[in-house]
């Protein structure tokens, strides 16, 4: 393996099912320069410290010309960047505003209030397994739940889902720094524009006839453009990350029958199992959109000002200097401070919602469904290297309990 090619290998689909040997290779050099001047950081303490370093910017306009600018809205979409692609003070202002209807201290019961309905969705989805001997965990279970959840959170009609599903997919792929085809950026731009237009109409309606959900709650406090950009972000994130988290948990448990057996006897194991999956198979594998604002010394290397930096969360989560026997899936792990939801000011906004969904979905799935085997292992993966997860997870099942 020669230097300068590793980022290409990471994005190469051939490694999607098991990128971990590549990450192990990467960790041999915690901070690594690629030929195009991109720096890959792959060890736990270094990733964590950079994620909390004010000299690292998420604002992709700080990238020197010529580098990929994932997520950067083309000027023509007319939308400001969503808040993951902003720095403070803009970031803090937006996130602070958005947080008000979403969680404590202002709305401590908002997410809790969704539990009942989401539990019902879980039950309905599982009821539909009745009489089948094979299901696709993604299509039949892991995808519909988060989509319903994010629609409820935002106050977006669930019926419109088939329309924005396509846009969300395209936008999620655009986070991948080397997303395949050449017209990728234009497609993403168009998708953002169209999704934006859809949401803009919806927001306008909400302004006139407020209803439940964050869009209505936020409409009086945000400019239409900021709210639209935020809605695009949350809708896409709600589509693409929790799906992978639920699917990865299912796959991991089916691959570890010993843990599964313990789990079926002791449902309380859900908490450490879910946290361990977030470490072991994080839904966001790396963050390829940060830029150094100054020369930064890390682990004996200086990342020069202006360099694009990739923070390799999934590699850091398996750093043997931080986690004992890191390639082992071990729900008994103590002190599991994984970076599965990132860290610092950009720590996953949706983490509390994702945890609620996982805790509703995973125990119930394994309580009710008697699995017999994975039909394909590894399953087919999505193209995306950043938001990594199976495209389908076909499994044979032997029945359903009430």
């Amino acid at each position: 393996m020669t230097s300068g090619t590793i980022s290409a290998q990471i994005t190469d689909y051939a490694h999607r099912a098991d990128p971990y040997p590549l990450y192990a290779e990467l960790r041999k050099q915690p901070v690594r320069r690629e030929d195009d001047g991109t720096y890959l950081v792959s060890t736990y303490y270094e990733v964590r410290s950079l994620a909390n370093d004010p000299r690292l910017s998420n604002d992709t306009s700080n990238r020197p010309p010529g580098y990929a600018r994932p997520g950067q809205p083309a000027e023509e979409t007319g939308l400001p960047p969503s808040f993951i692609f902003t720095d403070p003070p803009v970031h803090d202002r937006l996130r602070g505003t958005i947080n008000r209807p979403f969680g404590p201290p202002h709305s401590p019961r908002f997410l809790d209030g969704l539990r009942g309905e989401l539990a019902k969705v879980v039950t309905e989805l599982l009821d539909a397994f009745e009489g089948k001997d094979q299901v696709d965990v993604v299509e039949d279970f892991a995808y519909p739940l988060p989509v319903t959840a994010i629609c409820r959170v935002l106050g977006v009609p669930r019926e419109d889902e088939p329309r924005f599903h396509v846009w969300a997919d395209v936008l999620a792929s655009s986070l991948d720094p080397r997303s395949g085809d050449d017209d990728g950026p234009e497609k993403a731009q168009r998708a953002r524009q169209e999704l934006g237009a859809y949401l803009s109409d919806l927001i306008e309606t909400k302004r006139r006839h407020p209803g439940p959900g964050m869009l209505s709650a936020l409409a009086p406090d945000m400019t239409p453009a900021d709210l639209e950009a935020t809605a695009v972000l949350l809708l896409v994130a709600g589509h693409e990350t929790t799906v992978n988290a639920i699917t990865n948990t299912t796959l991991t448990l089916l691959r570890h029958p010993d843990v599964l057996e313990r789990f079926q006897k002791d449902p309380d194991l859900a908490v450490p199992i879910i946290e361990e999956v977030l470490r072991y198979e994080p839904p966001v594998q790396f963050v390829p959109w940060t830029t150094a604002l100054a020369d930064i010394d890390v682990a004996g290397t200086t990342i020069p000002k202006g360099s694009p930096v990739w923070l390799m969360l999934a590699a850091a989560n398996r750093d043997p200097r931080r986690f004992e026997d890191p390639d082992r899936f071990d729900p008994d792990r103590k002190d599991n401070e994984h970076l599965g939801f990132y860290t610092g000011i950009h720590y996953c906004f949706g983490a509390p919602l994702a945890r609620i969904e996982l805790h509703l979905a995973v125990p119930e799935l394994f309580r009710r469904v008697k699995f017999s085997r994975l039909i394909e292992d590894p399953p087919p993966y999505r193209a995306n290297a950043v938001l990594r997860g199976p495209r389908q997870l076909p499994v044979a099942i032997e029945g359903l309990t009430a």
Partner: protein, 464 residues
């Protein structure tokens, strides 16, 4: 006694006595057991309660969001100790290796850990201090009594002293809708800990929240009515305020009196110990069987010119206790230094304040992120060309970075670009401490390592 010389015997069947059953005492006890100490463990505390947490006493508890009796410290593990609660240690006999209690009992030890902490400095005039309506705030009972009073129909509260505790009390009063006057001898709130520049921000914050803040004055007398109830307070500028409640927040005094005559280096500034928590005797010779940790301890810190620092910080108590416990039961070469970077937090008037390092050493500061005017910022303090401390208002997530800057002796003022930096060049300004501390020599030390067990001191050439 073999337990003195043979660490293995000590670990198995030694007698360890902890005086001061609070945060540091409990964490030390837990660490001892975690590290395999199976001998006898005695916890001596003069309060009636098992260890509880103090930070909520001036915050959530005063707001009614937590009951003081619910602040018991969570236990990390069973410590299998003999608890002697409600009885103070009266003195220490180093020759006989025993602690004598106020009830006359004696408790022998092979290793002694002193974690007697501090107490609130009382109002200087005992008769006035005894008036009904005059409070201090240090214990669970103090907090419960004050809460009852604040919610029992009073109108105006006087807070004497605008340090962290006083400011938190004032903030709680405002949340209860009470009128509150804060009297501070210095030029601004928090000025002793953070200096005048940040003090000015705290000043604005208090006034914005309706506090009647009076700086540069002291309270000269508290006056009672016929039935011994507080009625009014007299200030040094001649003004008089009618008040029913006064909260005396004039800092803390170290609980070392019981050690007088014992021959250990204990006094009003704390108990001097080395970086391994071993207590010095009055000759400056280190003992090997007596340790100290928490608010009562004073130890030299390499990053701060080896000055003896006594810190009244929650996190310091925890880490120092863990180091002391580790060192008490291991052989010399395995001992670890307490190289904690000072850190504390406070919440008041809706703002989260956090600090790392030692701001009071920093003669100058720059606002590295955010702005003072928005009350959302990180200020970095400099000392002889290096970063020595950082303070954030609603920006705690950044402090880990500045902690690393302090530990690695990064140059001051910082020159790099960063997110949310509002000015092109960072012009240092005087941080305006009332009594600037002028240290003597330059930085030659950095800290390395991610955890206490890895942390080491490295000498580096001075930045000068």
């Amino acid at each position: 006694m073999s337990a003195d010389t043979d660490v293995e015997v000590l670990r198995r069947q030694g007698r360890i006595v902890v005086v001061g059953a609070s945060l540091a005492g409990l964490r030390a006890a837990e660490t001892l057991r975690e590290k395999g100490f199976t001998g006898s463990l005695t916890m001596i505390g003069d309060e009636l309660y098992e260890p509880y947490d103090r930070p909520p006493l001036s915050k959530q508890a005063l707001l009614g969001r937590a009951r003081p009796e619910d602040t018991a410290l969570p236990r990390r593990r069973d410590i299998d100790a003999e608890w002697r609660l409600g009885v103070a240690a009266a003195d220490l006999d180093r020759d006989a290796k025993q602690v004598r209690l106020v009830n006359g009992d004696t408790v022998p030890y092979d290793r002694l850990l002193i974690t007697t902490g501090t107490r609130a400095r009382p109002w200087f005039h005992p008769e006035e201090a005894a008036l009904d309506g005059v409070f201090v705030l240090r214990t669970r009972d103090d907090s419960a009594r004050l809460y009852r009073k604040l919610t029992g129909g009073v109108r105006r509260v006087l807070v004497i002293g605008a340090g962290f505790t006083g400011s938190e009390v004032a903030s709680a009063c405002r949340e209860h809708g009470l009128e509150v006057t804060v009297a501070e001898r210095g030029p601004a709130p928090l000025v002793g800990a953070l200096g005048g520049v940040i003090g000015a921000v705290a000043d604005r914050l208090q006034r914005k929240h309706g506090v009647d803040l009076r700086c540069g004055v002291s309270v000269t007398a508290l006056e009672g009515g016929d039935v011994g109830r507080l009625r009014r307070a007299h200030l040094s500028d001649g003004s008089v305020i009618d008040v029913e409640v006064a909260v005396v927040s004039l800092g803390a005094m170290r609980n070392t009196e019981w050690l007088a005559g014992s021959g250990v280096a204990a006094g009003p500034r704390g108990i001097a110990c080395d970086a391994g928590c071993r207590v010095f005797d009055v000759n400056g010779i280190v003992t090997d069987d007596i340790y100290a940790a928490g608010d009562v301890a004073r130890s030299p810190h390499p990053l701060f010119d080896y000055q003896f620092l006594a810190l009244e910080h929650w996190g310091n108590a925890v880490e120092q206790a863990e180091i002391a416990a580790h060192n008490m039961i291991c052989a010399g070469p395995d001992r670890r230094p307490h190289l904690w970077l000072p850190m504390f937090w406070s919440s008041q008037f809706g703002v989260n304040i956090k600090s790392v390092g030692v701001p009071s050493l920093g003669g100058q500061l720059v606002v590295a992120q955010g702005t003072l005017a928005e009350e959302r910022f990180v200020a970095v303090y400099g000392y002889r060309g290096r970063v020595i401390a950082a303070v954030s208002f609603d920006g705690a997530k950044w402090l880990g970075f500045y902690e690393q800057q302090i530990a690695s002796g990064a140059p001051f003022p910082p020159e790099y670009r960063s997110v949310d930096r509002r000015s092109e060049t960072l012009q240092p300004i005087e941080s305006a401490f009332p009594d600037p501390h002028l240290p003597t020599h330059g930085p030659t030390i950095t800290l390395t390592g991610h955890s206490p067990s890895e942390r080491r001191v490295t000498f580096v050439p001075s930045h000068a």
